[in-house]
C-alpha cells in the first residue's frame, strides 16, 4: 500500500463505515426502548433507497427523498403497531423470530413490487465521473454527502435525546421501563416512536448511500449484519460507541480488500463479529467488570 492508497482506502472505509454506524444507531434506538434487536433494520435502508428511486422519476430529488423517509417511517410505525405492540411480555426468542420473519417478508415484497434489478439514485451533485482530489486520493462528492448526512443525523438525534421532553422520556425508558411508566411516560408510545425514528433514519441513510453502493431488494441483510457488528463492537445501546465502531469496521473492511480476495470481504466482518461476541460481548468500550455481570 502506497501513501496515496492509504488515503483512498481510508476514505472509502469511512464512507461505508458511516453507513454501518447509522444502521447501528438504528439498532440502538429500538434496543434501548424495547430490549429487542430489530433484525429488519437493514430492510429500512433498502426501502428508503427503493422508494426514493421510484419517486425521483416524478418529482425533484429532495422531495423524493423526503417522501421516501416519511413512507418508510410509516412502515416502521405500522410494523410496531401490528406485530409488536400487543404482545405483552415477549420472550427474546419470539421477538427475534418475528423480526427475522418481517425482514424476509419486506424483502420479498420489495422483490415483487420492484424486481431483482440493481438501481441507484442519481448523484446529488455532479455525476459518476465528478471527483474531488485530496492528498492524491480521488473520490466522488457523494462521499461528502454521506458523511455530512450521517453527522447531521447524529447531531440532531443528540439534541432530540437531551433537550426535548420526548427525547428525555425515551432515555428514561432505556434506563428503567418500570420507573419510566411510574413517572407517567406511555411506554408503548415510546416504542412506536422508536420504531418510526429508526425506520426514518435508516431510510435517509439508504437514500444517501444509494448512488455509491446501489440498491437492490436484498441489500438489507448484509447491511444489517455489519450494522449489528458495529452496534456490538461499540457496546449495545451506546451511540458514541456505534459511531466509532462503525467507522473502524468500514476501514478494516476497506483495508482487507488489499490483502485477501474480494469474495471473502463479508467473511472478515463476520469473523470480527464472532471474535467480539466470544471475547468482549460488552463491546470494546464497555468495562469488563460490568460485562461480567450482564447476560449475553
Amino acid at each position: 500500500m502506497s501513501p496515496d492508497n492509504i488515503v483512498q482506502y481510508l476514505i472509502s472505509g469511512i464512507t461505508a463505515g458511516s453507513i454501518y454506524a447509522i444502521v447501528a444507531i438504528g439498532f440502538n434506538i429500538i434496543y434501548n426502548t424495547t430490549g429487542i434487536i430489530n433484525f429488519a433494520q437493514g430492510e429500512f435502508l433498502m426501502l428508503g433507497g427503493m422508494i426514493s428511486i421510484t419517486l425521483a422519476q416524478f418529482m425533484p430529488l429532495p422531495a423524493a427523498i423526503l417522501a421516501a423517509v416519511i413512507i418508510t417511517a410509516g412502515v416502521g410505525f405500522l410494523i410496531e403497531l401490528v406485530f409488536i405492540r400487543w404482545i405483552d411480555s415477549p420472550s427474546v426468542l419470539r421477538m427475534i423470530i418475528i423480526t427475522i420473519g418481517l425482514s424476509i417478508v419486506i424483502r420479498e415484497a420489495a422483490l415483487h413490487i420492484w424486481d431483482e434489478k440493481v438501481r441507484a439514485l442519481p448523484y446529488f451533485t455532479g455525476n459518476e465521473i465528478t471527483s474531488i482530489e485530496i492528498l492524491g486520493a480521488r473520490f466522488s462528492p457523494q462521499v461528502l454527502w454521506v458523511l455530512g448526512t450521517c453527522a447531521i443525523i447524529v447531531i440532531i438525534l443528540n439534541i432530540f435525546y437531551y433537550y426535548t421532553l420526548t427525547g428525555k422520556s425515551m432515555r428514561a425508558c432505556a434506563a428503567n421501563r418500570t420507573a419510566a411508566s411510574l413517572c407517567g411516560i406511555n411506554i408503548k408510545n415510546m416504542v412506536s416512536l422508536s420504531f418510526t425514528l429508526s425506520a426514518a433514519i435508516g431510510a435517509l441513510a439508504g437514500c444517501v448511500i444509494s448512488p455509491i453502493t446501489q440498491t437492490q431488494y436484498d441489500c438489507g441483510a448484509t447491511l444489517a449484519i455489519k450494522g449489528f457488528t458495529a452496534a456490538i463492537f461499540g457496546g449495545l445501546g451506546s451511540s458514541t460507541g456505534a459511531i466509532v465502531a462503525g467507522l473502524l469496521i468500514g476501514v478494516i473492511e476497506a483495508a482487507s480488500i488489499s490483502i485477501i480476495p474480494l469474495a471473502y470481504k463479508d467473511a472478515i466482518t463476520l469473523t470480527l463479529l464472532l471474535g467480539i461476541l466470544f471475547f468482549r460481548p460488552g463491546g470494546i468500550f464497555g468495562s469488563r467488570e460490568a460485562a461480567a455481570l450482564k447476560e449475553y
Partner: protein, 358 residues
C-alpha cells in the same frame, strides 16, 4: 418403551409404505422424488427441533451444516477431489483402495472415494466444526446467540461461494451415486427411485425413534430443565454447557447427514443450500411444528418442504416461510397443534379491529 409409543411409529411406517404402493400403482411415482427430498430436509428439521425446542438454543446457521455434509459428499465423489492431493498421493490412495478410479461415459478418468470413507469424513468434519463453533457460541444467549450462529452460517456460505474446490457460484454437479449395498445406490437414477424413497424414510424414522427415546430419557429431562432456566438446571447439578454442546453437535450431524444423502440423490449442490434463507426456513418449520414437538416438526418438515419442492408457492416461496414465521410466533408461539391457538386468533381479530391505544 411401551407399546403405546411403538404404535405411532408403526403407523407412520405403514403410511410410508402405503404412499409408495399407491403412487407406483397410479403411475404418479415421480412424487416419490419430492417425498425423498422432503425426508432429507425433515431430518435437518428434527435435529433443529431437538436444539431449539428442547434445549432452547436458537441456531440461524443450520443450513451451513447441511451444506457441509453436502459439499463433502460432492467433493469426494467428483473429480474435484483430485485438487486436494498431489498426483503422487492420489496414486498411492488409489492403490490403497481409499479412492476408486474408474472411467466415465466419455472414457475420461473418474475419481471418487468409497461411500463409507466419504460418509465418515462428512460426519467427522461436521462433528469437528460444530464442536469448535459450539464451544464459544453456546455461551451466548438470545440475540447474541442468534447473530453469532447467523454470522457463522454466512461465513461458511461465503467460503462455499468463493472457493474453487467448491465450484464457487456454480456449485458442484454430476456427483456420482453413493453405493449403499451392492446394486443399491443413493442417486437420481429412475430405477433406484423406490429404494431411495425407502432409504430416506428409514433414515428419517430411525432418527425420529432415536430422538423420541432421547427426549424421554434423563437427557431429555435435563434439556427441558435447561430450557426452563439455565441457572436452576445448573444448580440442580446438570452440566448445562456439556448438554448444550452435545445436542448442538448431534443436531449438526443430523443436518449434515441430510445434506450428504440429498447431494448424492440430487447429483449436485449449490451455495444457496448454505444461505441464510435456508436456515431461516428450517427455523420457520420448527416454529410451525411447535418447537418442542418432534411429531409436529416431522409432519411440517415433510409437508412444507414437499409443497415447496412441488412449486406450489411459486415465486412467493421465501415469502411464505417468512410470513409463517411471523404468524406462528405472533399468534401461537407453542406451535399450531394446540388448543390455545384458536383463542389467540380470536384475540387478534378483536384487537386488529381496534388496534389504537387500547
Amino acid at each position: 418403551m411401551k407399546i403405546s409409543s411403538h404404535l405411532p411409529v408403526a403407523l407412520l411406517g405403514a403410511i410410508v409404505v402405503l404412499f409408495q404402493v399407491l403412487m407406483s400403482a397410479t403411475g404418479t411415482d415421480y412424487l416419490l422424488i419430492q417425498l425423498t427430498m422432503s425426508a432429507y430436509y425433515a431430518l435437518v428439521v428434527l435435529g433443529l427441533c431437538l436444539l431449539m425446542g428442547y434445549a432452547g438454543q436458537i441456531s440461524m446457521g443450520h443450513a451451513a451444516f447441511f451444506a457441509l455434509g453436502g459439499y463433502t459428499a460432492a467433493v469426494l465423489s467428483t473429480n474435484n477431489l483430485t485438487q486436494l492431493f498431489s498426483a503422487g498421493v492420489l496414486e498411492w490412495l488409489v492403490q490403497k483402495g481409499l479412492i476408486i478410479l474408474s472411467t466415465d461415459a466419455y472414457g475420461a478418468a473418474a475419481y471418487r472415494a468409497p461411500a463409507w470413507l466419504s460418509l465418515g469424513t462428512a460426519v467427522l468434519i461436521t462433528v469437528a466444526v460444530s464442536f469448535a463453533i459450539g464451544i464459544p457460541v453456546l455461551r451466548l444467549k438470545g440475540h447474541y446467540l442468534a447473530m453469532a450462529t447467523l454470522g457463522f452460517g454466512t461465513i461458511l456460505y461465503r467460503i462455499f461461494l468463493g472457493t474453487r474446490i467448491f465450484g464457487e457460484a456454480d456449485g458442484i454437479s454430476a456427483v456420482r451415486p453413493c453405493e449403499i449395498l451392492p446394486g443399491l445406490f443413493v442417486g437420481g437414477d429412475p430405477s433406484q427411485r423406490v429404494f431411495n424413497y425407502y432409504f430416506a424414510w428409514i433414515l428419517l424414522i430411525g432418527a425420529l425413534v432415536l430422538l423420541l427415546n432421547l427426549v424421554r430419557s434423563r437427557v431429555g429431562r435435563a434439556l427441558r430443565a435447561i430450557h426452563g432456566s439455565e441457572e436452576a438446571a445448573g444448580a440442580m447439578g446438570i452440566d448445562t454447557a456439556r448438554y448444550k454442546l452435545n445436542i448442538f453437535v448431534i443436531s449438526a450431524v443430523f443436518a449434515a447427514l441430510g445434506g450428504y444423502f440429498m447431494t448424492h440423490f440430487n447429483g449436485g449442490i449449490g451455495p444457496s443450500e448454505a444461505g441464510i434463507m435456508k436456515s431461516v426456513r428450517y427455523v420457520a418449520i420448527v416454529a410451525v411444528g411447535g418447537m418442542a414437538n418432534l411429531w409436529g416438526c416431522l409432519l411440517m418438515g415433510v409437508v412444507l418442504n414437499f409443497l415447496s419442492l412441488r412449486g406450489y408457492f411459486g415465486s412467493y416461496d421465501d415469502a411464505v416461510f417468512g410470513a409463517l414465521l411471523i404468524i406462528i410466533m405472533a399468534l401461537a408461539p407453542e406451535g399450531i397443534f394446540r388448543k390455545e391457538s384458536i383463542s389467540r386468533i380470536k384475540e387478534l381479530t378483536r384487537r386488529l379491529s381496534w388496534p389504537f391505544w387500547k
